[in-house]
Symmetry: none
Subunit: 211 residues, 4 copies
Amino acid sequence: MQSRTPAGRTGRPRSVAADTAILSATRQALVELGWSKLTLGDVATRAGVAKTTLYRRWSGKNELVVDAVAELFGELELPDRGSLAADIEGVVLQFAAILARPEAKSGLMAVVAESTRDDALRERIRASIVDPQKDLVLEGRARAQTRGELPPESDPREASRTVDLIFDMVAGAVVHRTLVSAEPADEEWVSDFTRVLLHGLAATPPGPPGR
Amino acid sequence: MQSRTPAGRTGRPRSVAADTAILSATRQALVELGWSKLTLGDVATRAGVAKTTLYRRWSGKNELVVDAVAELFGELELPDRGSLAADIEGVVLQFAAILARPEAKSGLMAVVAESTRDDALRERIRASIVDPQKDLVLEGRARAQTRGELPPESDPREASRTVDLIFDMVAGAVVHRTLVSAEPADEEWVSDFTRVLLHGLAATPPGPPGR
Amino acid sequence: MQSRTPAGRTGRPRSVAADTAILSATRQALVELGWSKLTLGDVATRAGVAKTTLYRRWSGKNELVVDAVAELFGELELPDRGSLAADIEGVVLQFAAILARPEAKSGLMAVVAESTRDDALRERIRASIVDPQKDLVLEGRARAQTRGELPPESDPREASRTVDLIFDMVAGAVVHRTLVSAEPADEEWVSDFTRVLLHGLAATPPGPPGR
Amino acid sequence: MQSRTPAGRTGRPRSVAADTAILSATRQALVELGWSKLTLGDVATRAGVAKTTLYRRWSGKNELVVDAVAELFGELELPDRGSLAADIEGVVLQFAAILARPEAKSGLMAVVAESTRDDALRERIRASIVDPQKDLVLEGRARAQTRGELPPESDPREASRTVDLIFDMVAGAVVHRTLVSAEPADEEWVSDFTRVLLHGLAATPPGPPGR
DNA sequence: AAGTAATCGAGACGGTACGTCAAGTCTTGAG
DNA sequence: CTCAAGACTTGACGTACCGTCTCGATTACTT
C-alpha cells in the first residue's frame, strides 16, 4: 500500500507494523472522537508512532481516513442466497451493518464532503471504496443472468446506465436512511426497499436511448 | 429567526441586517473556500460584522452552515405539472439543481457527517432541512390522490412507512449521484429514476405489516 | 469632582449617589481582583450602574483608580505628637497603614507605572495624591519651626530642594519596604528610619548651592 | 536560562537564539508601546518567533517582562571610587541611569504592582532583580570595612536590619524621585541624598534591639 | 566489520484559527 | 439630558493542531 520500500533501496525499511497500527488507531479515534475532533497527533500517539512517521505515509487527514474506512468496506461480499432478491437483501444488510458502525458513519460522509472540492481525494475514494462496491452490483447481475433471472444485456451503454442507477439508488437510500433519517436499515426496511427496487426495474421499459 | 426581541425587552435590539449578511457571507465563503477552509472569523469579516456578533447568534460552524444551507432548500416547492410522474421529476430536478450548487454540496454533507455525533445538530437539520422536504412528498401524495392517481391510504402506519421509504430513496439517490458518483442528475437520469421508483411502488404489494 | 451638572443645564441631572457607589465598587474590586483583573464592566455591575454612566464620568480605568485610591490617602493627616520625630513617625505609620491595604497596594503602583507614559495621568496623580502628601511635609516643617526644632529657612530654593528630597526619601522608602521587600513598615522599622533621616538632615551642611 | 536541554533529552532542542531575540524584542516593545500596550503577539512578531514559542518559555507577560528588565539591572556593578560616599554615589547614579530608560521605567513598576497579588511573581522579581541589588549593598559595606571606613559588624541581626533599611532607602528614594516626582536623579540630587544617608547612618546609635 | 542511507522516537518550530473576554461606543425605551 | 440594558466593533488573549524541521538513535543493506 504505502509501505513500498521500492525494491532496490538502501537504508532502514519502513515498519510494516506501523501502517496497521496507524489505520487501527485511526478507526479507534473515529469511534471515540469523530471526524472533526480527530487529530493526527492523537492518532500518532495512539499508534505509538511519531507524527513524522504518519506524514511520511499519508499526506493528511483525508487520505488517512479514506484508507481506514476503506478497510471496513473491504469486508463486503456478495452472498449466494439463491435468488437475486435474496442476494441483494444480503449485501444491503451487510452494507447497512458497516455503515451503522460509528467509525464508518463518522468518517465516510466527512471525506465525501471534502471530496467535493478535491478531485484527487474523490478519485481515491472511488478507487478504494466506491468501485469495489459497484463491482458487487456487476457480480450480482452476472449471477442473476447465470441463474436466468435476468436476460443478458444487449446494449452495453444501456446496461452501464442501469448499473449506475441501481448503485446510486441502493447506496444512496441506505446512506440516507442511516445518516439523515437516523433510522436503522433493518430487515423490514431492506425487504421493502428491495421489493420496490426490483419491481421497478423489472417493470421498466428501457427508456429512450441516451441522447 | 434568531433576532427575536421578545416583546418587553430593554437594551439595544439585535441588528436584523446582521443575520442576513452573515448567512449570505457564509454561503459565499462555502462557494469560495468549501466547508473545511471556512472560518468563522472570515465569515464575520465578509459580513462586515464582528466575530462576537456572530457567536452571539450561532454556537458554532455547524449550526451556522445548517441555517445557511436551509435557506437554499427553502426555495424548493412542488410544481404542478399535471401528473404524479411529472411532479416528481420536477421536484427532483429542483432538488438536484440546488444540490449541484457548490455552497450546498460543500456544506450539506459536512453537517450531516457532523450530526452523526451531535444529536442537537441532527435535530436542527431535521427541523430546518429534512422535514420541509418530506412535506413535499406528503403534498405530492395528496395531490395524486386528488387526481385519482393514487388510492387514499387505508393503514396510516403503512402509509408513513412508505413515505419514509420514498423519501430516503429519492433524496438518497440524488445525493449519491451528485456527490459520490459526481455525475449530474440531469433530465435523463431523473427520468430513469422516476420510472423505476413509480413502477416499483405501483407493482409492489404493501408487504407484511410491521412486525 | 466629575459630577458637575454645569448649573444652567436642562435634562435629567446626574445621580450624585452614582459617583460614591462607583468609587466604592472600584476599591472593592481592587481588593478582590487586583488592578489587572479589574474590569470597568464589573465595576459598573457592582455599583448597580450602567457602563455608560461610568464612562460619562471617567475616561478610563486609570483615571477611575486614581480617584478611588486618592480618597484613601485623603485620610492622611499630620498628628501633633509633641516633637518632630514623633510627628514624622506618626504620619509615616499612617502612610504605611494605608499602603498596606490591598486596594492601595494593588492600585497605586499600577497607575504610577501607567503614568510613565501618560502625562495627563501623572498630573492627575500629582494633584490628587502626591501634592497633598507633600503638603504634610511642609506642614511638619512649619510646626517644627514654630516649636523651635528647626530654624526658619533662609534660602527658599535650598528649602524647596530639601523638602523634595525628604519627600522622596520618606515616601520612597515606605513604598519600597512595603511593595518590593514585602515587609511590614512597622513601628520598629519606622523608628529606625526616622532616626536615620532626622540625624542625616541635622548633620548635613546644605551642600553646594544649586547650579 | 530556559534553554537547558538537560543532557539526556530527545527531540529537537530549543533554539537558544529565540530567548535572546524575545527578550530583546520585549525591551524594544516596552520602549515603543509601554507596559499596558505591549502584547505578546507583537513581541513574538518582533522577535521573528511564533507565539507558541514564546508561551513555551514564559507563562505570561509578567514573567517575560521581569526577565527582560532583569537583564538591564544585571549591568549594575559597584565601582571602586576610593571612598564609601563616592562608591555609593557611583552605584546610585548607575541605578538612576537604568531606571531613566523607558524600558525599565515602564516595565519595572508594572510588574511590582502585579506582584502584590502574585507570590510567585514577587519571588521571581526578588531573585532576579532585587537580591542582586542588595548584594551590592553588602559588597559596599565589606569594601568600606576593608578600608576602615566602617567597623566590622558585631551583631549580625542588627547588621541585617541595617542593610535592609539602607536598601529600601536607596532604592526607594531613587525610584520615587524618578517615577513619582518625575525629576531626574542627577549628580546634585544623588550627592544630597548620599550625604543625608551617610550622616544619618554614622550619627545613629544602633537603636534598641528588635522587640 | 565498516560505511551508508533511510528509518525511527521525540519534540520544538512558524503558522492559522479557535472561542472568549474586555474596552469603549451606540441604540433603544423609560424617567 | 440621564439612566439601565444590552448589542455593537475592535483587538488581544492563551490554546490547539497543522505540517515541517531538527535532533540523536536504530536498522538494514552495501561494500
